[in-house]
């Protein structure tokens, strides 16, 4: 059933001949068929002569369930059981495996995998079905309309045979211009309760291969000692002590002076040698601020005028509305930097090939960026670079950065050798936690004026923080009129219809490298918006669910879908039912990545003030939920990720250097932290939207609102443990 993950990447990537049927896109981008891979077609699916159907998955599997989701699309259109389909990661080929939302760039992010693949993979499956039936009809001399395909068998007119018998004939046929897709009423897999994750078998007995697991003959392992602060550079290093480590090969400084690399025969030797290096750093240009100083800078920024405006309403009008209000609710919020800290630390292996090229073995979030970077660093043309995509041990955004940080390190590490041996870069957990590319620290200040009935008259919202996209190759896609959309998404463009909202943004001076982190800007804007809605509801004397519904315009799709999602979460959570003393419920609802998510958190607070999270109930509208159990798993995970970080995590700087080192001081969510999670899916016929990220934004504010409802503090400075909240 399962193929070795390292090898199956090669099956397609190396262009191995296939005697069978492959359906995918030709160089012009048109759907086409062939009997062999490696020709002009890079397929979405292949069928071999023994009838085996394999989905070629263009996004990497990092736990989000995309292998299962894209396999389900093909299985649906081919009328086969999800359990019977195999899958493999696609090779790097942006022309044909590009993300339709990324302008042809092959990559995974923004919770787009299903949304951009939904019609593409169904169409390939439908074409395969139609062509196989046509081939059988021709062979049997019968009308195709009399034949049916189910579970890999074509039957009708008293005959039946496996699809493998017809793959060669089908491969010679013209691909239908518009293959007929199933109507939703005909679905047997999409939207159905099937638990058949395609990656489970690989992950319960240790056989699945992650980038960390690559073991090539003759490989060297490289560990690095990175500059202790942003801007620090290597002056010199002494590897005398490292030479005493058995298996040590050599040490080299990166040309940029950002790190010194230790090469060794094994990972343990590389770590030991790295730790034995003595390095002199030039700190003259290095960052020296502490987190406390940065926090004060950001708060000062939101207390004064903003650098950029991100809303239509002008400040004067909004200020006038607030000044004339019956009540003004004002709060400042502060969010620390956060590391992604996926379970698998970063790393990749570069293997030389006989033709002078390379294969990069990586859990590749952005294969196209990997290709470009390898080409630049190694001075190789694109055709000499292959990407073997492996399982990623979580990512949350971290396996892609605007600078392709660890990919560049791996490429440079290889470039500084004689290129005869594979070079494997391995980060330790300390390298990961201290390695930058954090969710930026952000400050918000919000002033809202209410009329005597508690209605919103004006909303003045100011944000300050370090921009993720400015100065990167992606700037033009995201930055408008000076506003980095990822700093403010989810405020003025949310599901609520808020009258007279002014949004101001000020960019902070860089203190570290920053990056997209699960749900990006929504990770802080969702917390602020939903904490404020709760505060406003209380000021208005209104029920928090009812108050939110007032600002959801159900005549519009956004308002209607969010309202239905909020009502479902409230109903399933028993919203409004009496709670014993010491318990509280909090609600939050936030739209992100095209999906609508509402969560109700229930907490208890004991006599000593210790908070326990009893239950989180969620509702998600992500359009058609292709694989509902995978959707629920992603929302469960998104809730855990959101809650774990707001509880107790932060990355801090002391004199410009990162203080936190490893899990003991960047404590992950643990088993005991959340007693129960219950996820419900809103039925929908809309096109699929994201699920990897939308569960995260409401989780933190639902918890904050629950703590306040239970009599605890109103937390506006994160993490919560810094604001006087103790957890069980």
């Amino acid at each position: 059933m399962t193929i070795d993950a390292t090898r199956r990447g090669f099956l397609v990537g190396a262009g191995a001949a296939l005697s069978g049927l492959a359906i995918g896109l030709d160089p012009r981008g048109a759907l086409a068929a062939t009997s062999a891979t490696g020709g002009n077609i890079t397929p979405f699916l292949t069928i071999t002569a023994d009838g085996t159907v394999t989905a070629i998955v263009k996004h990497f599997e990092g736990g989000q369930g995309v292998a299962t989701g894209l396999s389900a699309l093909i299985a649906e259109e081919m009328n086969m059981a999800l359990e019977d389909i195999r899958w493999a990661h696609a090779p790097s080929d942006p022309a044909r495996y590009g993300n339709l939302f990324f302008g042809g760039f092959q990559g995974t992010g923004g919770s787009t995998a299903m949304a951009n693949s939904f019609l593409q993979y169904r169409t390939a499956g439908a074409a395969a079905k139609q062509m196989l039936i046509a081939a059988a009809a021709e062979a049997w001399g019968v009308d195709a309309a009399a034949l049916a395909l189910r579970d890999g068998v074509i039957s009708g007119n008293g005959q039946e045979a496996g699809i493998g018998d017809f793959v060669e004939a089908a491969a010679r046929m013209q691909v239908p211009a518009e293959p007929k897709l199933k109507e939703p009423a005909e679905f047997r897999i999409i939207g159905k309760e099937i638990r058949a994750r395609r990656d489970t078998a690989d992950k319960i007995d240790g056989r699945g291969i992650f980038a960390m697991d690559v073991q090539l003959d003759g490989q060297m392992v490289v560990a690095l000692k990175r500059a202790p602060r942003l801007g620090a550079k290597v002056v010199s290093f002494d590897d005398t002590a490292a030479r005493e480590v058995r298996g040590f090969i050599m040490a080299q400084a990166l040309p940029s002076g950002d790190a010194v690399l230790a090469y060794a025969e094994t990972t343990w030797a590389a770590f030991q040698a790295r730790d034995a290096l003595s390095i002199e750093w030039d700190l003259s240009e290095a960052e020296t601020r502490s987190s406390e100083a940065i926090r004060e800078e950001l708060l000062e920024m939101v207390r004064t005028g903003s650098q950029f405006t991100g809303s239509a309403a002008d400040l004067a009008t909004v200020s006038a509305a607030i000044d004339g209000a019956a009540q003004v609710i004002e709060r400042e919020f502060y969010f620390p930097m956060l590391a992604h800290a996926p379970m698998e630390p970063m790393g990749a292996t570069i293997e030389p090939t006989e033709d002078g090229g390379v294969i990069m073995h990586d859990g590749a979030q952005f294969p196209t960026a990997n290709n470009m970077v390898l080409g630049q660093v190694l001075d190789l043309p694109p055709e000499k670079i292959r990407i073997n995509t492996l399982y990623a041990g979580g990512f949350f955004g971290r396996r892609a950065t605007p600078s392709s940080d660890y990919i560049v390190e791996a490429a440079l590490a290889f470039a500084m050798t004689d290129r005869s041996r594979p070079v494997k870069l391995v980060w330790s957990r300390e390298d990961d936690i201290t390695g930058g590319y954090y969710r930026p620290a952000m400050a918000h200040r919000v002033r809202v004026g209410l009329d005597p009935d508690g209605g919103i008259l004006g909303w003045d919202h100011r944000v300050a923080g370090q921009s993720i996209f400015k100065g990167t190759a992606f700037e033009q896609m995201i930055v408008r009129d000076g506003v980095d959309g990822s700093s403010v998404e989810g405020i003025a463009d949310g599901a609520y219809t808020i009258p007279s909202l002014h949004l101001g943004l000020t960019d902070a001076r860089p203190a570290t490298t920053v990056n997209w982190w699960r749900s990006v800007g929504h990770s802080h804007t969702g917390y602020v918006m939903e904490s404020m809605m709760d505060l406003l509801a209380r000021a208005a004397g209104a029920d928090p669910v009812e108050y939110r519904l007032r600002y959801l315009d159900e005549a519009e799709p956004d308002g209607a879908r969010m309202a239905a999602t909020l009502r479902l979460a409230a109903e399933k959570a028993g919203w409004g039912a009496e709670l014993p003393a010491g318990r509280g419920r909090g609600v939050a609802a936030h739209k992100s990545f095209g999906s609508y998510c509402a969560e109700v958190c229930e907490v208890s607070i004991d006599g000593d003030g210790v908070v326990r999270i009893e239950k989180v109930t969620a509702a998600i509208d992500c359009g058609i939920a292709v694989t509902p159990d995978v959707v629920r798993a992603q929302i469960e995970g998104g809730i855990g990720y959101g809650i774990g970080h707001v509880m107790r995590d932060q990355i801090t700087l002391e004199n410009g250097a990162v203080h936190e080192r490893n899990f003991p001081d960047y404590e992950p969510l643990r088993m005991r932290d959340i007693a129960a999670i219950d996820v419900h899916i809103v039925p929908s016929t809309e096109a699929p939207t994201g699920v990897g990220e939308p569960g995260t934004p409401p989780a933190g504010p639902a918890l904050a609102n629950a703590i306040a409802a239970a009599g605890g503090p109103r937390v506006t400075r994160l993490p919560m443990t810094l604001s006087g909240v103790a957890f069980a």
């Binding site: 992650f210 379970m343 630390p345 399982y391 992950p668 088993m671």
Partner: protein, 154 residues
């Protein structure tokens, strides 16, 4: 230094540098990569193996101290009735997401069920607390441990 280790019932000769943790002997010398490296400081549980039936963090266990010990890793855990039941429960409930921590989760779960046949939620929280999962599959792990207990009771 030449050592003889007993891993998954087989006798293996290895030659690690003195002071090498079992984790790296398994992964780099024996190419048994199912046991994962997550933190190196016994704070995440991804490297959990059984040493004489007890769950241990292989990043802290020195290979040279394991002469004569019975070591079991994720690659062979399905060979025991409890291991097979845990894997079956994990499959039935589709517990995994990224999967990188799951080797360690399964090794810890098997150890728990070996000690307590019918664990409560509290038992599970206590025994599994050292196994981190950044995908937050915890609710499913808890359910799957209960399910494995059901399977084992038949």
């Amino acid at each position: 230094m030449t050592l003889t280790l007993k891993i998954n019932g087989e006798t293996r000769q290895v030659d690690p540098a003195p002071g090498t943790p079992l984790l790296w002997v398994l992964r780099d010398e024996l190419k048994m990569t199912g046991t994962k490296f997550g933190c190196g400081v016994a704070a995440c549980g991804a490297c959990t193996v059984h040493i004489d039936g007890t769950p241990e963090r292989s990043c802290q266990a020195l290979a040279e101290d394991l002469d004569g010990a019975e070591i079991t890793t994720i690659e062979a855990i399905g060979g025991s009735p409890i291991g097979a039941a845990v894997q079956a429960a994990w499959t039935e409930l589709d517990v995994v997401q990224c999967g990188y921590c799951q080797s360690g989760q399964i090794m810890s779960a098997v150890a728990l069920l070996s000690e307590i046949g019918r664990p409560t939620d509290r038992d599970i929280d206590d025994h599994m607390d050292g196994n981190a999962c950044r995908c937050a599959t915890y609710v499913r792990i808890r359910a799957a441990i209960h399910r494995a207990a059901d399977i084992l009771e038949g």
